[in-house]
Structure formats: structure tokens, C-alpha cells
């Protein structure tokens, strides 16, 4: 916990992030691979969010994808309202609303005309949900197991609601045909290195802020809560507040990752808040090392990149998932701290 340790960590993280900036050069500016790499970075950031709530604070949030998905939908809504090619009818309704016979734009879509609002909402909406969760289940003496299950149930319910209300959300298809993000004179086409750099820059900033938080006393208290929350209570801390704070931070990070993901994928879909994705985040963190932000980040990148390479056919994809399930079980049994923990022990010798 002294200066040397801090410096070591910041240095390693710095090197890792710096290396990522060279990826487009290595890939020779091939748009397909650049786009894929951009997606991996978003998912890496998503893993960081779970690492904070689970690895550091001990809250097993099985529904973390819900924050990711909400963030991505917020960005998609703003980008959708900027398209002028596909809407008909007065007031500029998104195409799927027209198909569903919606007459006017619903009130909760209106503010998304402003991209700034969309960006704020992409953070704010997940945080609101996290606050609601915090005040309802993180403050009572509800067992960790029950919290885990409830977060999964919440994810499922939000997913079902979005699928259900397809007149307003695009349902099964999600929100597609978005305009390319434009900020001032900069245009961020999903297949262009500029977008990759945008994502990497945002990711680096968020990662470093999160790292800083984990090094603060609050970050230490998070870990103490993970280790023995009763003892933390008896030292005078309001554990419920801290857990809620961890959840909100986690939600904000996931929301940002979601917004970036929409930019890269060029749509928002219910699969962004579905159970398989939420489970995958847990696997990335378990394998990469949930108590390390960087470990979780790299775990996500390695696994999703591996998946990207191999899953050309559906059989491959299923086999890959099978292998991943197997690796996951093995890591739970033998590497509870994931690969990051393994390396740390190895280097400490």
C-alpha cells in the first residue's frame, strides 16, 4: 500500500493501455479487424465493471449486463433520432415505431434528440437502477447468494420488458440503422481507426479512474467488506452505502462500455442485456482474475478474441462455448484468483 506499489500498478496499466494504441498499426488498418478490436475493448471495460463490484467488493452481480445494455440503448436512441433517411410521418419517428403503428414519439424518447443527453443518460440510467438495487437489496441483511439470484432476475425482467414493448424499443430486433456518431468535425465510423482510438482513450481514462478509486481508502473499505462485512460494520461504516456506491460505480463503467459498444456495433440489441452475455462477463473475470481490474480486462479480451478467431461456423461456436464452460469450471476449482492471481503468486516468489 505504499508509493512503490501504486507506482508499479499504474506503470503496468499504463504499458498495457499504451500497447493497445498500436493495434491498428499491427492490423494494417483492415477495417474488419479494427472494428472487431474495438468491440473487444468495450467488452474488456465491461469486465472491469464487474471486477469492481465482485472482485473488490464481493457483490456477485450476475445481471451486470443490464447496465451495459441500458447504456447501449441510450446511445442507440440518440443516434436513431438523428437519422433522417428512414423515418416517415411527422415528428420523425424511428422506423420500427412506424411499423408498429405508433403515432407520436413517446415522452421518454424526446430528450434523446440531444446527443449530450443521450451520453448522460447512458451513465445516469444504469446508475439509477444501481441505486434502486442498492437501496432495496444491498442494505438489508440479504445473503450474498440471494443478491446474486435477484440481480439475475432483474436482468431477465428488464430483458423481457424490452422484448415485450417492441413498439417503443424495437423488441427482438433492437434499434438498428443508426447514424454515424459525429462530434463537431470528427466523424466516428465504426470501421475506422478513429473510432478505435476514441474507444481506447475513453477506456484508458475510465480504467485509470477506477484504479485510483481502488487505491483510495474507499477502495480498501470495499475490499474489507468483501473479506468481512460484519467487522466493517463494527468499525462504524455504513456497509449498505458502500456496497451501493460500488454498484453505482460499476453501473457507470458498464454504461459507458455499452455506449461505446453501440457506436462500434452500429445497433443496440436485447442480446446486450441477455443472460448469456451476463454469464460471459462472470467467466471473463473468473478466468482473468476478478480481483484485478487489468486481469479481468485481459480475460475478456483474450476470451472474446479467441472466440472471434474460432467461431466461423456454428458448430465451432458451440464447441468453443463448451470449452469455455470447461475452462471456467476448472478455474473455479483450481484458480480462484484467476490467471492474474496465478501470475501474482508466481512473481512474488
Amino acid at each position: 500500500m505504499n508509493k512503490k506499489n501504486y507506482q508499479k500498478d499504474f506503470f503496468i496499466y499504463g504499458v498495457a493501455c499504451f500497447a493497445l494504441f498500436f493495434v491498428p498499426l499491427i492490423l494494417g488498418n483492415d477495417p474488419f479487424y479494427i472494428n472487431k478490436s474495438s468491440t473487444y475493448i468495450c467488452l474488456g471495460l465491461l469486465a472491469v465493471s464487474l471486477s469492481l463490484s465482485w472482485g473488490y467488493t464481493g457483490i456477485l452481480n450476475l445481471g451486470n449486463a443490464v447496465f451495459f445494455g441500458l447504456g447501449s440503448y441510450c446511445m442507440a436512441m440518440s443516434l436513431k433520432l438523428k437519422t433522417d433517411a428512414v423515418h416517415t410521418g411527422s415528428g420523425g419517428l424511428p422506423d420500427f415505431m412506424v411499423w408498429n403503428n405508433v403515432k407520436t414519439l413517446p415522452w421518454f424518447w424526446e430528450p434523446f434528440h440531444s446527443l449530450t443527453f443521450g451520453v448522460f443518460a447512458g451513465i445516469f440510467v444504469p446508475v439509477l437502477l444501481a441505486l434502486a438495487l442498492g437501496f432495496s437489496i444491498l442494505r438489508g441483511r440479504i445473503a450474498g447468494v440471494y443478491v446474486a439470484i435477484i440481480t439475475l432476475a432483474v436482468l431477465l425482467v428488464v430483458y423481457l420488458l424490452i422484448m415485450d414493448q417492441q413498439r417503443y424499443t424495437g423488441g427482438f430486433n433492437g434499434i438498428t440503422d443508426l447514424v454515424t456518431l459525429k462530434v463537431g468535425i470528427l466523424e466516428f465510423d465504426a470501421y475506422h481507426p478513429a473510432t478505435y482510438y476514441l474507444i481506447t482513450i475513453v477506456m484508458t481514462i475510465v480504467l485509470f479512474i477506477t484504479l485510483l478509486i481502488t487505491k483510495s481508502r474507499a477502495g480498501l473499505i470495499f475490499q474489507a467488506i468483501r473479506d468481512d462485512e460484519n467487522r466493517v460494520r463494527f468499525l462504524g461504516y455504513d456497509v449498505g452505502n458502500y456496497k451501493t456506491a460500488a454498484m453505482c460505480l460499476s453501473a457507470a463503467i458498464a454504461g459507458i462500455a455499452g455506449m461505446l459498444y453501440t457506436i462500434v456495433m452500429e445497433f443496440a440489441s436485447p442480446t446486450f442485456l441477455a443472460v448469456p452475455l451476463s454469464l460471459s462477463i462472470v467467466i471473463w473475470c473468473a478466468v482473468g482474475g476478478r480481483q484485478s481490474l487489468l486481469g479481468s480486462f485481459l480475460g475478456a479480451i483474450v476470451i472474446t478474441a479467441g472466440q472471434g478467431f474460432l467461431s466461423e461456423s456454428e458448430t465451432f461456436l458451440h464447441t468453443w462455448t463448451l470449452v469455455m464452460g470447461f475452462v471456467f469450471v476448472l478455474s473455479v476449482l483450481f484458480l480462484p484468483k484467476g490467471l492474474a492471481g496465478f501470475f501474482e503468486k508466481y512473481f512474488k516468489k
Binding site: L60, I149, A153, H318, M324, V329, P336
Partner: protein, 289 residues
């Protein structure tokens, strides 16, 4: 009055399915502390086994109950011996390990049988409807209800009236002391796990003709089953039965007004509120720890 009766009866259908699925889960969690996230997949395996036995050997539903139970119980037993027993000192990790196993089971089915939906027919002699309290009810659903009650009593009998049950309850309360009395907790845990997964599979076999069979059908049921366990607390079988009833009736009731999704959301909200007031579930005793 008619409305309430018909509501109640259709709610009972959901209740009985929930009860069969959650019973296994509650018993496993209550005894060993293991959260079996793969429980839904065992339901799915039961459905697929039933389909397999019927299409390959022409075995009817009733005949296949025992083989399905035994096959899945054996699977459960092996999984407990190979994976779960290493995790008793870190129970929260059992969520992860069993979730991984669930993924393995799903993928195994996808790669062998394929992901397309499969269908099973209700056994012909149960496909008709009968009149009960003035309502038209499918005989099959009545059968499921009766079987669920039967399973409940079998479980209750085993736990409270047999010597195995006494050993089970001893191990639940205090594993180490029970060992000092010569009770082999390993055997108790494995058998419990096997029994729990076996019942889940039989439930799956019964559910199979009601909807379609798919590799991911388990996921929905696992969350419902967990809601039952979370609400009912794990200390009593009555708790599991009661909360199955509460959740089954409430979901069914709400679903008739709005739709399934809203019903699920409201039930979840109800459970969260109840947990805030009684964090350990509705049917638990107050103890020192």
C-alpha cells in the same frame, strides 16, 4: 366465485410445476449449502431424456419416470463427487462452478442432439379434459399436480421418517459433529444432490409436452425455482411448498390481467419487498447466528 375457482386452479398448475422443480433445489441448498445453478439444465436433461426414450424406444411417459430419475440422479451424483465436493469450503463459488456445468450440459445437448426445438405429445389417455369443481381442466395438469404432491410427501417422508433422513438433518445442522457420530457426510451430500437433480429431471419430463423442448429451456425455470427458495427460506419443506403456492398463484393471477412479463416483474418486486422485511425468507426460525 367462478372466476376465483378457475384462477385458483390454473394457478395450481403453475404451482405444481414450480414445486417439483424447487423441491430438489431447496433440498440441495438446505442440506449442503450448494446453489445449483445447473438445476434448470437438469430439468432440460429430463425433458430430452424423455424425448429420447420415446422416439428411440417408444417408451411412454409413465414408464420412463424411473429411468429418467435414475439416469439423472447418477449424473448428479457424479457431478457432486467430481466437482462440487471440492467447493464446500467456499460455497459462493458453487454458483460459478454449477453455472459452468450448466453451460457444459447445454452445449453437450446442442452438439449432440441439435438446437432445434423438439416436441412431445401428452400421453393420449391424459390428453382429454375433465370437470373439477365446475371447471374444465386438462387431465394431464391434474396428473402433474397429484404427482407433485406425491413427490413432496415422498421427500417429507424420507427426510423426517427414515434413518437416512435423520442423518441428513444432522449433517445439515452441523456437518462436523455429525461426522464425529460416524455419519458419512460425503455420502449424505452426494445422495442429496442426486435426489434433488433426479426430481428436477422428472419435472422436466412432465413439462416437456406442455411447451417445446430446447437446450436453453432451463434458464427460465432456474430463476423461478430460485425465487421460490429465496422467498420460502431453506429451513422447511413446508416453506418451499407454501412459497411455490404463493408465487404460482400470484404469477398466474397477474398474468391473466396483464401479460407474463409484467407478472414476472411484479412478482420479483414482491419478493424483494418481502426479503427486506425478512431477509432469510418467510419461513425461517430466529436463531443465535
Amino acid at each position: 366465485m367462478d372466476f376465483f375457482i378457475s384462477q385458483f386452479i390454473s394457478g395450481l398448475s403453475m404451482t405444481s410445476i414450480l414445486l417439483m422443480i424447487s423441491l430438489g433445489l431447496a433440498i440441495i441448498y438446505g442440506t449442503t449449502g450448494v446453489i445449483n445453478m445447473a438445476h434448470g439444465e437438469f430439468v432440460m436433461i429430463g425433458a430430452y431424456t424423455s424425448w429420447f426414450l420415446q422416439t428411440t424406444f417408444g417408451m411412454g411417459l409413465l414408464v420412463s419416470i424411473i429411468p429418467i430419475f435414475l439416469i439423472t440422479a447418477l449424473m448428479g451424483f457424479l457431478i457432486e463427487r467430481i466437482v462440487i465436493r471440492h467447493l464446500y469450503n467456499r460455497l459462493l463459488d458453487t454458483i460459478l462452478a454449477t453455472w459452468g456445468i450448466g453451460v457444459l450440459l447445454q452445449q453437450f445437448i446442442r452438439l449432440t442432439v441439435g438446437s432445434e426445438l423438439k416436441y412431445l405429445k401428452i400421453p393420449s389417455f391424459m390428453a382429454e379434459s375433465m370437470t373439477l369443481f365446475g371447471q374444465e381442466v386438462s387431465i394431464y395438469r391434474v396428473f402433474i399436480f397429484v404427482f407433485a404432491i406425491l413427490t413432496f410427501f415422498v421427500a417429507w417422508f424420507i427426510i423426517f421418517k427414515t434413518s437416512f433422513g435423520i442423518r441428513l438433518r444432522a449433517v445439515t445442522q452441523n456437518k462436523d459433529i455429525a461426522s464425529c457420530f460416524g455419519i458419512n457426510s460425503g455420502v449424505v451430500y452426494s445422495s442429496t444432490f442426486a435426489f434433488g437433480t433426479g426430481i428436477a429431471a422428472v419435472a422436466g419430463a412432465f413439462i416437456a409436452p406442455l411447451k417445446s423442448i430446447s437446450p436453453d429451456m432451463g434458464t427460465n425455470y432456474i430463476i423461478d425455482a430460485f425465487m421460490v427458495v429465496v422467498l420460502g427460506g431453506v429451513e422447511s419443506l413446508i416453506g418451499t411448498a407454501a412459497s411455490s403456492l404463493i408465487i404460482g398463484e400470484t404469477s398466474s393471477f397477474l398474468a391473466s390481467f396483464s401479460n407474463d412479463t409484467l407478472a414476472k416483474a411484479l412478482v420479483l418486486l414482491m419478493i424483494i419487498i418481502i426479503l427486506r422485511i425478512k431477509p432469510q425468507g418467510l419461513f425461517t426460525k430466529r436463531t443465535r447466528s
